[in-house]
């Protein structure tokens, strides 16, 4: 059997194909991991944007240097997180027009992995500040006292120390779990797609 002759000598059946009169009628399934990645990044940015709004409100309405310093540090990290997510979002070409698909898929997978890793590392440093800031703000807000009065009792200091010790690892683990739950699936799918391209050691 001459496979080249057979291949060139036939035309595929086009009956049953949707008659496309205009682009607007196309209904994509949106099941590409890159499209999913962009969608998740938008969700992430919306969530981060809401947090930034809350921090700004706290900074504006609670005029205590301790709260402003701690929440300010957290706000800076959150702003950086928003910018880095936006940068990653803009680098994703979900129309996959790259000349070298394998390199493009790897670039996206590595960029996402690296973004997640950096976010987690930096957050580990920031969590103690945000835990302390959150505790002070919560205490002031609930008690109606100022920071100095609220922290007057030794027990308030012990609770603050406990918050700074206990909450950061919990926040870190929760963040890791959330990342894996959302972006982890995208990375797994990208790995599968990369695997399909390099099966049999074609790299």
């Amino acid at each position: 059997m001459d496979i080249e002759q057979i291949w060139k000598g036939h035309q595929p059946e086009t009956a049953g194909l949707p008659e496309v009169q205009g682009i607007a009628q196309l209904k994509p399934e949106q099941n590409s991991p890159l499209k999913r990645m962009k969608k998740l990044l938008i969700q992430n940015m919306v969530g981060v944007g809401i947090c930034i709004g809350m921090y700004v409100c706290i900074l504006y309405f609670f005029n205590y240097w301790q709260i402003r310093a701690l929440i300010g540090i957290t706000l800076l990290f959150t702003l950086w997180g928003l910018l880095s997510a936006r940068q990653l979002y803009r680098s994703v070409d979900d129309d996959v027009l790259a000349d070298n698909l394998l390199a493009e898929l790897k670039r996206n997978r590595n960029a996402l992995n690296s973004w997640m890793r950096i976010q987690m590392r930096v957050s580990a440093i920031i969590y103690p500040f945000s835990a302390a800031g959150g505790y002070l703000w919560g205490g002031v807000f609930a008690s109606g006292k100022d920071v100095t009065t609220f922290m007057d009792k030794p027990s308030a200091w012990w609770v603050l120390i406990a918050c700074v010790i206990i909450l950061p690892p919990l926040g870190y683990m929760a963040g890791k779990w959330m990342f894996n739950k959302s972006f982890g699936k995208v990375i797994a799918q990208l790995d599968t797609n990369i695997g399909n391209l390099v099966v049999g050691g074609t790299e």
Binding site: I3, Q11, P12, P33, V96, N100, Q189, L197, G200, T202
Partner: protein, 159 residues
């Protein structure tokens, strides 16, 4: 490029694209979904089309990229029966139809990446072109093609 001009250009490349899609889609619904996804990606990304390149070549690249990027449905256990509905030879003689049917069935048994390599080769793409699309060295494509053809002949003989 205007929408109607784009669709006309796409229509002129139907055969080329459908041959590729038919090797990766396992039902008419899958085929139509994949076709629409490719069209949409091509439309959204037409700014990446350089006028000096052939439209068909560019669209072929978009089709390959789309096939290898979306979450395709997994291969069913038995799929060869569905090939008949996708393929008809130019002159629909029974013997020729059977050969086309066998060839499609054989190519579908290859690994995902091997299918695209042999398809591009059969469409007349040179090894460096295939290599640049897939991000593999041209030398490796030469070696790989040799193996794929052997594998294909073995499958065809067995069938």
């Amino acid at each position: 490029m205007e929408e109607q001009e784009f669709l006309t250009q796409v229509k002129s490349c139907h055969g080329l694209i459908l041959k590729l899609i038919n090797l990766y889609a396992y039902s008419v619904t899958d085929r139509n979904d994949l076709y629409q996804e490719i069209l949409l990606n091509a439309w959204n990304g037409q700014k990446g089309f350089r006028q000096e390149a052939k439209f068909s070549t560019w669209l072929y690249q978009v089709a390959i990229n789309t096939i290898f990027t979306i979450n395709r449905r997994t291969r069913p256990v038995s799929y060869t029966d569905s090939i008949e509905q996708f393929v008809i030879p130019v002159a629909p003689q029974t013997e020729q139809r059977e050969e086309v049917h066998q060839l499609y069935a054989a190519i579908r048994q290859l690994a995902d990446v091997d299918r695209v390599i042999i398809t591009m080769h059969l469409e007349g793409y040179a090894n460096p072109e295939i290599a640049s699309v897939l991000g593999i060295t041209a030398n490796y494509i030469g070696v790989k093609l040799h193996r794929i053809k052997d594998q294909l002949q073995n499958i065809l003989k067995a069938s």
